[in-house]
Amino acid sequence: MTSASDATRGFFRVVRVLLAVTTAAAATVLGPVGDAHAQELSAADKNLIVNVKLAGLWEMPAGMWAQERGKSKRTREVGRTLMIDHGRLDTATHAIADRFGLALPREPSDQQSAWLGEMKTARDDSEFDRIFANRLRYAHGVLFPVIAQVRAGTRNDLVRDYATTANQAVLRHMTLLESTGVVDQSLMPEAPVPQSNSANAAMDVGFGELALGLLLAVVLGGGLFYALRALRGKNTRTRERAAAAEPEPVPSAPGGLDV
């Protein structure tokens, strides 16, 4: 076992050197990034803030009408809750837009105005309940992943807090709207088909810098080659003994989860 532990010690020395080199390289390449972008809004950040504002512009009046006109007691309660929550969100939206000098829309979009028109011209109060719940639930379903992606990936600390707030509110609103019992889930936006191996692909995102990727490939590849050579030379006997004692590794079952 002496030769094996010598080899391990030697390997750790190699690892320490490699670690020092790559850490220094990473710090040099990525060092100033955080400070430079923290004060700005990305296009995705702006898109989120504008869309939350747009949501408020039609969902607040919609909620108020539901509170007044809703046929079921539940619809009236949900309408009132949505109006008040969107009032709070709107205040937070203006606070963050003012902070970064972002202009906000003052009118709902054409589609949102059309949805309000549908509610106004509903033939009776039960049709009103259905239009209210389904149109608002649909709109929340479109907004929800927009919020989630910004919450997960924004570089801006204020936007991250804002997205946490919006996420909480919109998740609650979808659930409240469904509690009216008249939401038809088959009309809602469907979850996208997952890309194959998307979890692994996502892990690569951190290596966006081509230079860093190349540097790491060279350093890791070279280091691994060197380490393997050094270990193989010193460790032949141990390896043979161990190989004789150990059972063959179990091959992965065909058709199993191979991710």
């Binding site: 670690l19 990525l30 400070d35 109006m83 600390d157 270990l231």
Partner: protein, 186 residues
């Protein structure tokens, strides 16, 4: 798989992970805090919404905010506050003159609308100027003139004495800055 590659692979992975960690933790400086309470455009700016200056039908309604939990609002959805310096038994408002222009007494004339809270807790008190004001569990209720939107709680904690009322008449102490920590168990 032989012992050499079995020891090399985890070490290589560890090395890669450490490199990634080093890359990710560089530069975390930036502005801290949560969305504040800068003035909003206000409900009056939104087509179809009630003007905050317009008088709400007299009454109170319970609401549950997505962040602060249960509160009491007027019939237009604007937050109703209570004042620590008021008396409860018997009810009496200490907010008069200039104070009552910022903190507008909730009107109590005519039939009262009570939505979602215990009607027995809702009462009225006659103010010094002879007008009647709504009370909840004995506490006179007010709207904040600076609240521009339904559900705004911008008056919370002013003078350490003004707080949104809960449906049982107690104070809302959770704030827009603290709810995330409370809610997410941080």
């Amino acid at each position: 798989m032989n012992p050499v590659s079995r020891s090399v692979i985890p070490l290589t992975l560890t090395l890669a992970a450490l490199t990634l960690t080093a890359a990710c933790t560089t530069g975390t400086a930036g502005p801290n805090g949560s969305p504040g309470t800068a003035p909003a455009a206000g409900a009056a700016e939104i087509p179809g919404m009630p003007d905050p200056a317009a008088e709400a039908a007299p009454g109170v309604a319970a609401a549950i905010l997505f962040d602060l939990g249960p509160i009491v609002t007027d019939t237009n959805g604007f937050t109703l506050y209570r004042y620590d310096k008021d008396s409860v038994n018997p009810p009496r408002s200490k907010c008069t003159e200039a104070c009552s222009r910022t903190w507008i007494p909730a009107k109590a004339d005519g039939d009262l609308v009570v939505i979602g809270l215990d009607r027995a807790l809702v009462g009225t008190v006659t103010r010094d100027d002879g007008t009647r004001q709504l009370t909840l569990a004995g506490w006179p209720l007010y709207r904040n003139a600076d609240d521009a939107m339904p559900g705004d709680t911008g008056g919370q904690g002013v003078d350490d004495a003004w707080f949104p009322a809960k449906p049982d008449g107690t104070k809302v102490l959770l704030t827009a800055d603290t709810w995330q920590a409370d809610d997410l168990g941080i």
